[in-house]
Symmetry: C2
């Protein structure tokens, strides 16, 4: 056990003393104010460097009334969606001087409330709340003294600012791509029906089909977000005998299961049947045979936009309301042979 007595933090006072000036002068010198002799400045800067002086941001904050810190309150730290969102946000903030305080509430209102208190105590300048599902979530209320942006899950209150993925549009894009590749008999195997994401994607897909004057092949088959369900549902679909030349799948995992079963049954993809998923989750898309065409929900962009809107709100230039991020089609081998 090394009892390396950590030295007391070096303060501006120390620097000033050793440089033979007052604290105020030292402060000015280090902050590039122009009311200080060039030589004096050099001396101060030099001493500061030598002492390894790091200004105490806390003290600055308490004075400035703004902490240069935002809270990131997530309910989906184990899920794979909050991570890219987090990265996008961290990215947008990192450019400036803003640091991120991360909290995980695990979908527990009590824990959320607790973390909120802590964050407010730390005088965060703003807050981003990441939901665990895309369904609207309860607002934190209007009494929170800093701007709040809800992302992934929108707030259920109109006056709040939210950034969400456009799942309806994603559904349409999927179907439009299949139509563009000449498919006409399109089935739909989705995930857990209690998720708005599943229902929204289905709605978008249905709308695109209807717009093309086509009927879907059977109803949307809801189940769970798993490969096993994809396999099972695809099996049932085949056994029912209605011909189809494409399957829209609720997620990449479901799509993966569908691909596996089609392969088992000797059905060629994409020649006989095209398959498309959602999320563009690399481990799933790249490992599939053939590689999986998917709709990327642009989570990183969502994170970045959330950060940007938070800044805007701080400037007082943000309009409340829900903002959708446009999804993006990524074409691979499961819909186009050459891809």
């Amino acid at each position: 056990m090394t009892t390396t007595a950590r030295p007391r933090k070096v303060t501006l006072r120390d620097v000033a003393a050793l440089a033979g000036v007052s604290v105020a002068t030292a402060s000015k010198a280090l902050n590039g104010k122009d009311q200080v002799n060039e030589e004096t400045r050099r001396r101060v800067v030099d001493v500061a460097e030598r002492l390894g002086f790091t200004p105490n941001t806390l003290a600055q904050s308490i004075l400035a009334g703004t902490s240069g810190t935002v809270g990131l309150l997530t309910n989906d730290l184990d899920g794979r969606f909050s991570l890219p969102i987090l990265m996008g946000a961290e990215d947008a903030f990192g450019a400036g001087q803003t640091s991120v305080l991360l909290c995980d509430a695990r979908d527990d209102a009590i824990r959320e409330q607790y973390h909120l208190r802590v964050l407010l105590g730390r005088r965060i300048d703003g807050l981003i709340v990441v939901g665990s599902k895309t369904d609207p979530r309860p607002s934190l209320g209007q009494k929170v003294p800093v701007p709040v942006v809800y992302t992934y899950a929108p707030s259920d209150h109109d006056a709040d600012a939210s950034v969400v993925a456009d799942n309806v549009r994603a559904g349409s894009i999927a179907v439009e791509h299949l139509l563009a590749t000449g498919r006409r008999r399109i089935a739909h195997i989705s995930g857990d029906v209690t998720y708005a994401a599943a229902r929204d994607r289905a709605a978008g897909a249905a709308a695109a089909l209807a717009a093309a004057g086509l009927e879907p092949v059977g109803r949307v088959r809801y189940g769970s977000w798993s490969e096993a369900w994809g396999r099972a549902a695809a099996g049932v679909l085949l056994d029912e005998g209605a011909p189809f030349d494409a399957v829209v799948c609720g997620s990449d995992q479901v799509a993966r299961g569908v691909l596996d079963l089609l392969r088992d049954r000797g059905i060629r993809v994409p020649d006989d049947v095209a398959v498309i998923g959602f999320d563009n989750w690399e481990p799933m898309t790249s490992g599939a045979r053939p590689t999986l065409t998917s709709i990327d929900m642009q989570f990183e962009t969502m994170g970045r936009r959330s950060a940007e809107r938070l800044f805007a709100a701080l400037d007082g230039t943000d309009a409340p309301g829900v903002e959708s991020v446009e999804p993006r089609l990524v074409v691979r081998g499961s819909t186009v042979a050459s891809a």
Copy 2:
């Protein structure tokens, strides 16, 4: 655009004034000191509640000299390993009063240095550094004025504190499990040889085989951490003709590829060949057919231990050095039929 002029933060002064007492009394009342009349306290608490008073942690910190904040500097935010580590740490901290400042350095030394400065400026009490690979990484040096714990990737400096996964042990556990299920001819398909994790696991596996007086089936086949590589390598292995009854795979993804190819070739798992992976990554293990036996590296435990050691270091009761976390075998259908 709602220009809701945000009200000035309510301070202890405001509370005291409205309660008709001095700041000092208000402070004592709210902090449960026993030198205050019960009725006065009630009144103060009441006013505080009504005003939505939240004590300014920054002000407290500046005084206490400790911020109740730790830095979490990761280089693998996009990878899937840092996330569970982060959760474990967040968990351990959350119990107390500690908040986490998250930074992503993306394996860039410049960015890392920059973030370090910012974090120190914010007077973090300690720092956890998460690597992107398991290979040792350069130490931040001994001049950092707060305790540092390196995790996932250990520091290359002996005097530093590190928490790592025991990949060698993991390799042994994998082989021992296969031996326990009666396998004797064990092949090994791994990932990217430039990763210490791949080499360590192979070393552990080889040692366990040797201890049992067995020879491996061919050399370790290194490649990449992908399903495609797993398929390709398994194909080659079969084509070479040397009989084998088990395959240790460098990761769950590789294992997934191996399983797929064996299935294609009509080889039954686990009857003819057992397959085992590493990481116990749920999307991979549960989607596989059969479900995949895997070694869980206990990332969450690593995060928790890192947090605990950081606390210990703050108390001055931590011994430096590398600590390994024991991996855990999770048995599923790819090694045991009934599982």
